[in-house]
């Protein structure tokens, strides 16, 4: 019984030398483990908000809904991987976790619980609307702040103290 318990709690950390991540023909992520081709895999962050570079679960892609339980292993630290392997992993994570950083607030306006943002982001310029900052703002610490727009899209202020006076005044209330 105890043995069984232990198995459940074991974390199978992936050794970089056992793994070979690759891009599929169609631009998706595949994995060969100790030479065996596992086909498409999904990368799922365990702590997607505050600890993005550690504990990433490598799972069978959910092409079939029935397979949701298969975890091939866990990347303990992204820094274990380097070179092209790291680049492929980063690219896939960026695709799945699309959270642009706001580099500049061009204009922001508040009216009746909605804030209207005109911004420059790492993914290009973007206008969006946030409703009720109180429930759609997350302080990630170290001045990093996440906001969620009315459609559920997420954006990050890498340093909230540098968003400009007007935006800061709006955000500060909820920090």
């Amino acid at each position: 019984m105890e043995n069984k318990m232990k198995n459940y709690a074991d974390i199978n950390y992936l050794a970089p030398e056992d793994c070979e991540f690759y891009r599929t023909e169609g631009g998706l992520l595949g994995l060969k483990m100790r030479g065996e081709d596992l086909g498409r895999v999904a990368l799922v962050r365990m702590f997607p908000l505050r600890n993005t570079d550690n504990f990433i679960s490598v799972r069978r892609e959910l092409r079939d809904r029935r397979d949701s339980r298969v975890e091939y292993g866990v990347i303990e630290k992204l820094s274990d991987f380097s070179g092209e392997q790291r680049a492929i992993i980063d690219e896939e994570l960026a695709r799945r976790y699309f959270v642009p950083e706001i580099t500049k607030v061009v204009k922001v306006k508040e009216e009746y619980g909605h804030t209207y943002w005109e911004t420059e982001t790492t993914a290009g310029s973007r206008n969006f609307t946030v409703f009720d900052l109180n429930s759609n703002l997350l302080n990630l610490g170290n001045n990093r702040v996440l906001i969620i727009d009315v459609d559920g899209n997420r954006y990050i202020f890498p340093d909230v103290t540098k968003v400009g006076e007007k935006a800061l005044r709006l955000l500060e209330i909820w920090l």
């Binding site: 631009g27 976790y97 909605h114 993914a123 290009g124 310029s125 969006f128 209330i173």
Partner: protein, 753 residues
Amino acid sequence: MEKKSELYPNLRGFDTPDEKVTDFVRGLGVQPENIIAAAKSDLSVDGSYADVWLLAEEKRLIVARPDSGAFDVFRFDEWEIRLENYLTTGAVLAVSGDRELVAAAFTDTCGKTVGNICRVCERLRDGKPLSDDDFRRGEEDRVCPKCGTPYQKGRRTCPKCQSKKKLFIRVLGYMPRYKKELALVMGMVVLSSLVGLLRPFLNGSTLYDQVLTEGGRYYGKILPFVLFMIGLELLTLAVNIVQGRIGAAVSSKIVYDIKSEVFGAMQNLSMSFFNSKHTGNLMNRVNSDALDIQYFLNDGMPQFIINAITIVGIGGVVLVSNPLLALLIMLPIPLIVYIIRKVIPKFNRFKWIGWHKSSKLNSIINDALLGVRVVKAFGKEKSEIGRFEKATQDLYDVRVREGLMSARIFPMLNYLMTIGGLFVWGLGGWQVLKGGMTFGTLMTFVGYIGMLYAPINFMIRTYDWWANCMNSAQRIFEIIDRRTDVPEARDPVDMGRIKGDVELRDVTFAYEANKNVLHNVSFHVMPGEMIGLVGHSGAGKSTITNLITRLYDVTEGELLIDGVNIKKIRQKELHGQIGMVLQETFLFNGTIAENIAYAKPDASMEEIVRAAKLANAHDFIMKLPDGYETEIGRRKTNLSGGERQRISIARAVLMDPAILILDEATASLDTETEQQIQEALETLTRGRTTIAIAHRLSTLKNADRLVVVEHGEIAETGTHEELADKPGGIYARMLGRQRDALKIRGVGDEEQL
């Protein structure tokens, strides 16, 4: 949702391509008239924002990126179009055998339309006909049709474009019911402001120039003057009291009207409204919103009128009698206006921050008190104290900043007003000495100046107040106006007594766009039959019952009750004939008898007792000192889970529903209690269409048939015997596991299964 245009005569849905896209695809040899559906996406495959268009023709999907001049074509005979959802984005995948390509990407802003076009592609590929339903889905725009700005889901109007004037008129629309009272209030308000204007004149000119100065009209008549003033003050007092009393009564009544309309509207809303987080916030604000409106009607409007009359009156009198002095009075006004407009908002911000911090503090206190057992068991008292201290400190810091600021602003404002007064004294005194003005007029001026600044302060802030009140009104009207997701049919069918024939035909359902929870579910329950829904948690069992009770409407397919589409049945009749016993029992505040009679308030005492007896509840109720009149929720009536469950079963017994739903009705109970409740349920289910969900498979031993649900699909159907022996079957496996689990625990009581 007709998107047809001259250029796109056959376009049936989603987005209409603009000129740029049209030119671009024309250049590729695409004929606009061949395009059936179009959707705009906002993200390129490489993860930057870009305009990407998905255009569906009958035999292929074209993905066009006019900005970069790139495009892809996916023929349906080769490619299958699929959707994959990530955190806040998704990908459209083109799949052909082992090959999988990322055809397009999208953010959640476009998720709905892109999902819709993918579904259209799927149907085109399968050669299935497209119905209007395929294009009607997701019709609820979240972008304001007027200004194009996105805004919060669930609101009908964009807050930017909502006309404040119209809202105001609508709020006032509640008032005509109280015409007489309001006219009286207004009369009083005008009277009291006129008296207010008169006072400095009487205290100044009349007193000094006419009463105290030789040759004055009332020279020496001090006593009559004082008596007159006392009379005037008494009149003002009376006017104010009457106005206050009537005003308070009327505004409370109006708010009561609004609140009951909101509550009535809330009861008619569908479940999805209550489950959505944002609307949840809206609901919480209803109370404070109603209060906002009340303050505005009760204080704001009369104050506005009084202040307007005061400013205009003083301005007029002063300007006519002494223009130079009038200008002096006006001198500090711009500065005061500036301070009020610029500095006060900053000050208010601290109030907001303080409010936010104190609500944080409250939630910490709440956690620690409600979770006191956990806190103590884990020995975390110290860290809770630490958390509390941190939050208190934060709050303290803000309050100090707020205090410092207010210590700066308000004395400054005071100073400015005093300075204005001193100017008047100075110039006025000089004029008095020179003989250009009487002392009484000077006193009148000084009196007016003291009266002027407060109304100015009020008028400057009144717009914010008004706007705030209109916003509150808007939120309230949104709930009142909200269309339900499960609308009553235009011509609802009166079913009479439902037989209990339930049929699901190809039912697909999603709570959120693109995230199907049920896929093509079909099964048929005969009248009087008992069906057990079995499956892992999250498989979709409760969702099926939510559809049968029409808390939600199916996304695709049909649900029939006695052969009639559930959407056509009069909802009152439907809900009056479907009973539910859930795992979480909900008992209302009130007596046990009232709770049992909830669905049938006119039930006789005999009926209530009989229902309780059938539900095995009678005996425990008899042990309570107040019997059936035991108050629940008061005086610490501690009913156990099993007892509460039996009361809710009694409620269902009394309702005598045609269709009964048992959702994990016995899951939280120990086996012995469960057995008692099983007996109660047996009497209840006999001869009644019953759909029961249970994890403990033993609970379903009386079911005529079992339906095994897995991943939103029907995996197996059959009797317990048929399924238990099916090699490799899901039910057989679940059954085996439950037996094993009991063995490990050393129970080994196969009878339980």
